[in-house]
Symmetry: C2
Subunit: 478 residues, 2 copies
């Protein structure tokens, strides 16, 4: 499958003549103030799913989501309970015989916000200025869910109906690896029956280079806690003779990669599906500006697997990333201790056809050999998401490309994303192709301080959603 070819033309997507006016043309102008207010109110809810003490806020965000859907004219609005944070369901199923059904997926939970001091304004006091909305969750993913909800609202207000049957499923645990999502899908499989899944949680190549994503990396993460002593010890009195968790965890973290930047876990790459020659060639054709990418990332050097390009590294290769390493004293000055405990958090990004459970098992086995007897080691799985790939030859992908072209004026590129969501489970459990209509941009600081949503992308996303439903209704999905 050629999921990274440079233009959709090469995989048989016919460009529509630019003719019909956009289904939602002018809607933004009429509704701007109200929609912006909804966006700001939603982003103001600190729905951090990783923090147990924010459970009430995540629930409040679910209720806010339900309110948005009801206000838009969706039916059967329901907060779906899970053993963790609640999801939200709503539908509109009156498109008539023969009309396709789409599930719109997004999430209403957000990432943690630290380091707080690096934010230009408080993460949950969103600011709308200079064409951007800044705040935690603005682009990931509240803003992207909102353009979908508002597109449905606009079509219902204007036409009294939608061209397709729509089901919204807005999750509340995406940022912690969707631990209960697959069970939720399975439990509601009948209610979620569909011809296509549309995910709005991804980015485009650039504001003037629209693109659609065809695959995402998977994720499996774990927290490793090491304890060597009952409490911190004086480094003068005990140092040199007692085990130090910082040393043990640093050694483990350092051993995660070999000298070539490859993940050193035995068998880690065994299941990786190699790129076809066509995929590799299309990857090379993408107009990738490495200097600009580095500037957007804010880095002055690159690192990674030897012999791979940057796009290969972030889209097509698995990784082992230490996302947290904490042992001992981190405050000002020095504290002369041997710490008693330390924490290592590792997130593995996976590609087709790696199995998260197998990678986690391999990590556990690898860890088991790394610590001496007498050291207490606890490994906690932090959720898993399988990698996902959608065949670009599916007719629904053609419909998506035409919808994007109708709004942006040029046909989209095909890309992949290095991030992870529950897309693989959606496609697998619901037996439907997964489309990605995402409007984030590389500079949107997903998961970082000063996360933003570019409002022009938001309004275009809203228009594109309207087009997508029209295109899907007119496309035989086989």
């Amino acid at each position: 499958m050629s999921s990274t070819s440079a233009t959709p033309a090469s995989v048989g997507v016919a460009s529509t003549a630019v003719a019909a006016p956009l289904a939602l043309a002018g809607y933004a102008d009429a509704e701007r103030a109200r929609i912006e207010r909804r966006l700001l109110d939603w982003v103001a809810i600190p729905s951090i799913s990783a923090h147990p003490d924010r459970a009430g806020d995540v629930r409040r965000s679910a209720e806010f989501t339900a309110g948005l859907l009801a206000e838009a004219g969706l039916e059967h609005v329901e907060v779906l309970e899970t053993p963790g944070a609640p999801a939200v369901y709503a539908d509109w199923l009156h498109a008539g015989p023969g009309a396709p059904t789409a599930v719109v997926y997004g999430h209403h939970d957000v990432q943690p916000v630290d380091p707080l001091e690096l934010w230009s304004s408080p993460p949950f006091e969103p600011v709308l200025a200079a064409g951007e909305c800044r705040g935690r969750g603005a682009v990931d993913d509240k803003g992207q869910v909102l353009f979908q909800v508002e597109a449905a609202r606009g079509l219902l207000r204007r036409h009294g109906r939608l061209p397709v049957n729509l089901r919204f499923l807005i999750e509340g645990e995406e940022e912690v690896g969707s631990p209960h999502f697959e069970a939720l899908l399975a439990a509601h499989r009948d209610r979620l029956a569909c011809d296509v899944v549309v995910v709005s949680d991804t980015t485009m190549w650039a504001a003037d280079v629209p693109s659609v994503c065809t695959g995402m990396r998977g994720l499996v993460a774990a927290t490793v806690v090491v304890r060597t002593a009952a409490g911190d010890l004086h480094s003068g009195v005990f140092g040199g003779a007692v085990p130090n968790p910082a040393h043990l965890l640093a050694a483990a973290a350092a051993a995660l990669h070999d000298g070539q930047g490859r993940v050193a876990l035995p068998g880690f790459y065994d299941a990786v599906r190699p790129l076809t020659e066509a995929e590799a060639a299309s990857l090379r054709r993408l107009p990738f500006d490495e200097a600009a990418w580095m500037a957007a990332a804010g880095v002055k050097c690159l690192d990674g697997e030897a012999g791979r390009s940057t796009l290969e590294r972030v889209w097509t290769r698995p990784t082992a990333e230490v996302v947290g390493l904490t042992a001992g004293y981190g405050g000002p000055g020095i504290k002369t201790i041997v710490p008693a405990t330390g924490t290592l958090k590792v997130a593995f990004r996976l590609v087709a056809d790696q199995d998260p459970a197998a990678v986690l098992a391999g990590f556990r086995a690898w860890l088991a050999e790394r610590f001496p007897p007498g050291v207490e080691v606890t490994v906690t799985a932090e959720g898993a998401v399988a990698p996902a790939l959608t065949p670009v030859t599916h007719p629904a992908v053609g419909a998506l490309c035409r919808a994007v072209e109708a709004v942006w004026g040029v046909p989209p590129m095909f890309t992949r994303e290095g991030g992870s969501g529950p897309e693989e489970a959606l496609g697998r459990v619901l037996s439907a192709p997964v489309l990605y209509l995402g409007v984030g941009l590389p500079g949107d600081r997903f998961h970082a301080p000063d996360e933003r949503l570019v409002m022009d992308q938001f309004w275009r996303g809203l228009l594109a959603a309207g087009e997508l439903w029209r295109e899907l209704a007119a496309t035989p999905l086989g």
Copy 2:
């Protein structure tokens, strides 16, 4: 020099016949409630020198110290300013012609207190129960300074005079490596002229196995901050192609030691003075119960330099200890980022004749080779203390041993301490031997949660100080 021989008898200390009543016998009973109140009030002051926002509390502690000294009858009480936290000076110089002069050294600043949740009671709300005082600074070092102050007070109340001239010098920056102490000593060298320095900031072998320390390890510490990006990055979008400070710092921390547990910095051991055969033999004779030591430390295994005993490791060998390693996310759950920055804090314990400045320079040079261009690395020195050794053959050491034997009933063992203080500078700048009259115990949790002072040791320390001044007055120090 045989600083670790098993009994002082072997180095010519004559045991006194148990005859004269102790100079301060009965003082504790008469003054107990008042002295305990002073101890609790002092420990309640959060004089954490490592925290800039505690500067006011450190000053308050200095003023409290000055008050104690004035109340005891000391003269010329003065808070001595430094570019950092203030020290306190006081003296009593009326012992008459021919009487020796002693400088009593201690410190009134304390260690930070985190992790706060591991304390049984708040660190600055000291508790006196079951024969112990629990609180930050109880044994390190407020309690040990207090027994010295109270011994002077008791002798002055009872006899109107002291057998020796006394100068107190109580520092306020010991827990941050005494950055301004040597300059303070140099500036007040004339005023601090003395025949002997007595440090009360160390531990004994056990409550029933009294010991006197003859040497301490030195310390040099540094904070290494690495920055690779302007802000944290999404590990899905960027992970695998950008440098990760957690990986870089883990690799550096892991490379600090070789496979034999030896510090891997080039030339690190070059200046280490080897143990003489006599020292090594006496070390082996000490009644060391490794299982009990491990239980006191709360560890279930040992670690360190291959081929060295535990006491060798903690007293006679230098170390490189990671006292803090912090990068990325440390909260509950997972955060899928590539962190932008990380911090490594390393404390090197040094032994005679290592030079802190040379070790720090070696560390800087070693670090300079470890990070690729484009990674921002900042190394901050966190203070340095040279290692110290006192010849056990000095007659003042004999006086100390007799004083301890008079109180504990058995002659003390000679030990070393693995910890670091400004003892080397005291001895060198003031050209005097350094004696250690310390009453801490191995289980006192120096620098850790639930620091405690065993009150019986405190009262014995008070008695021993009284004896020490009597013995010193009767000992030709020539």
